[in-house]
């Protein structure tokens, strides 16, 4: 492996620094996060080279204001946390607030998936407004996949990897644990 790597290196004269720049370009130009496999395929890299280049990229980013994040669906560039306060004060309109109704709907889908529209209505005791579903679809946080085998074959809703990305989770396992019934009984 190492031999092949080195030959390739000489052929292409691509330094790790060049590769790290190519990765930076692709991450900036991509609409969605890019996985390690995407990067390796697009740039014809070995795992080893990719890792070296990513490490160098991180170093370079540290000089500026961005940071490299590894999310459920891959790598993305974001503005380092330490600068969030500045952004929030200058561009308050960028701060997305979610209503309680939307959060509850999202929670039912996230924790109990797959669910139908009427499952959500049953749990929340409220008719589901189409605005809420539309917002969740629009953000790409939920999707329809399959049908429940009951009357009307209602569509089944799931969360997506974009949902995980937005909430900084790598996997559904990382969702905060559902509070247990006993503590709910006690506290109510």
């Amino acid at each position: 492996m190492v031999d092949i790597d080195e030959t390739k290196d000489k052929d292409h004269l691509l330094s790790i620094e060049d590769i790290s720049k190519q990765i930076e370009v692709l991450l900036h130009a991509s609409e969605a996060p890019l996985t390690a496999n995407h990067l390796k395929k697009h740039l014809s890299l070995t795992t080893n080279k990719l890792e070296q280049a990513l490490a160098l990229l991180k170093q370079r980013l540290d000089l500026g204001v961005l940071s490299l994040h590894h999310t459920a669906s891959g790598y993305r560039l974001q503005i380092a946390d330490s600068h969030s306060a500045l952004i929030q004060s200058v561009f308050p309109q960028r701060q997305e607030r979610l209503s309680q109704a939307l959060l509850e709907t999202l929670s039912v889908i996230a924790y109990k998936q797959p669910v139908t529209r009427s499952d959500i209505e049953h749990v929340r005791g409220v008719t589901l407004s189409s605005t809420i579903l539309r917002q969740l679809f629009d953000k790409g946080w939920i999707e329809e996949n399959g049908h429940k085998d009951t009357l009307g074959r209602p569509a089944l809703l799931h969360t997506t990897s974009q949902f995980l990305d937005a909430f900084g989770l790598r996997h559904l396992d990382e969702l905060p644990p559902m509070p247990d019934i006993d503590s709910i009984r006690a506290s109510s």
Binding site: H28, A29, L66, R76, L77, Q78, I79, D81, S84, I87, R94, Q95, E96, R97, L98, Q100, A101, L103, E104, L106, S107, V108, A110, Y111, H122, V123, R124, G125, V126, T127, S130, L133, R134, F137, D138, G140, E143, E144, A155, D165, A166, F167, G168, L169, L175, P176, M178, P179, D180, I181, I184, R185, A186, S188
Partner: protein
């Protein structure tokens, strides 16, 4: 204030336990009730609030006083705001049913029916759990609230634009039709169709609303081939179903609906079909 006292008295009378402290914040003038209700995510949230205010364990929920309190507030609801409160009224009827059940003498023989009170408590617990989970979800560090994506522009337009095609202005209009016509939550399905139904629906709507009437044949996009014909037909059916377009009644062969011919006659059939004229109704 009067109604507040009522509730207070009621709690005192029914609870055998020491005096419940009166939730001052519970009193609201009737006209403000609709606005006040909006602070709750629904009737379960409201019920949960009442349980909490009465300072009781959910499993020991005294159904009668809670029901009385709930109904007392629903009564306050201005009739002008009934449409806001459909879900609350539905819950009220459930509570009344439970209350009635509890007041009636229990049948000697045990029945298979679920205990409605137990069922309600179960729902409340489940809701409370989801509500707490949603708060935990909201506490996570979230993109575009707590952290932000870095946005950069692509390289200079003239360099990237070298092969950029011109866009047709009908794209804009079609997008507006799509925005209005698509069922909310099928709009974003990820499945890739060779000829997306939504695009055909939007395009056909645009053509008919602009031109009034057109034959089915004229509505087709020749570049889309056979599948385009099929999808266009489904699009036309969908628009007819929504009563946005109609078939122009004319004197062409009425056997379209009744004929039962063999495959050899297909050309004729599709010919008739192509001449089918559709008109905009909306």
């Amino acid at each position: 204030m009067e109604s507040n006292a009522e509730i207070h008295d009621m709690s005192l009378r029914i609870y055998q336990t020491p005096v419940q402290h009166l939730p001052e914040d519970l009193y609201v003038p009737p006209q403000a009730f609709a606005i006040w209700l909006e602070q709750f995510a629904g009737p379960l949230d409201f019920l949960l609030y009442l349980v909490k205010k009465n300072n009781v364990d959910l499993t020991q929920m005294p159904i009668l006083p809670i029901t009385e309190q709930y109904l007392a507030y629903i009564h306050k609801l201005d009739t002008n705001h009934f449409e806001l409160a459909g879900d609350y009224l539905l819950m009220a009827s459930t509570l009344i049913a439970i209350k009635t059940e509890l007041l009636l003498p229990k049948p000697e023989t045990p029945t298979d029916e679920r205990d409605p009170k137990a069922e309600l408590i179960e729902r409340l617990e489940e809701y409370a759990q989801v509500k707490a989970a949603s708060q935990r979800l909201d506490n996570l560090i979230r993109l575009e609230r707590d952290v932000f994506l870095a946005m950069v522009s692509m390289p200079s337009q003239d360099i990237m634009n070298a092969e950029l095609p011109n866009y047709s202005p009908t794209l804009l209009i079609d997008s507006l039709f799509k925005m209005q016509l698509q069922p909310d939550y099928q709009m974003h399905s990820i499945k890739v169709d060779a000829v997306p139904l939504a695009d055909r629906i939007a395009s056909i709507s645009r053509q008919l609303s602009t031109d009034g009437a057109r034959s089915f044949y004229e509505l087709l996009d020749k570049a889309q081939g056979k599948i385009g014909v099929v999808v266009s037909f489904v699009a036309v059916l969908e628009l007819i179903k929504r009563q946005l377009i109609g078939v122009v009644a004319n004197n062409t062969d009425s056997s379209v609906h009744t004929e039962n011919k063999t495959d050899s006659n297909l050309p004729t059939r599709s010919d008739i079909f192509g001449k089918l004229t559709l008109e905009w109704l909306a």
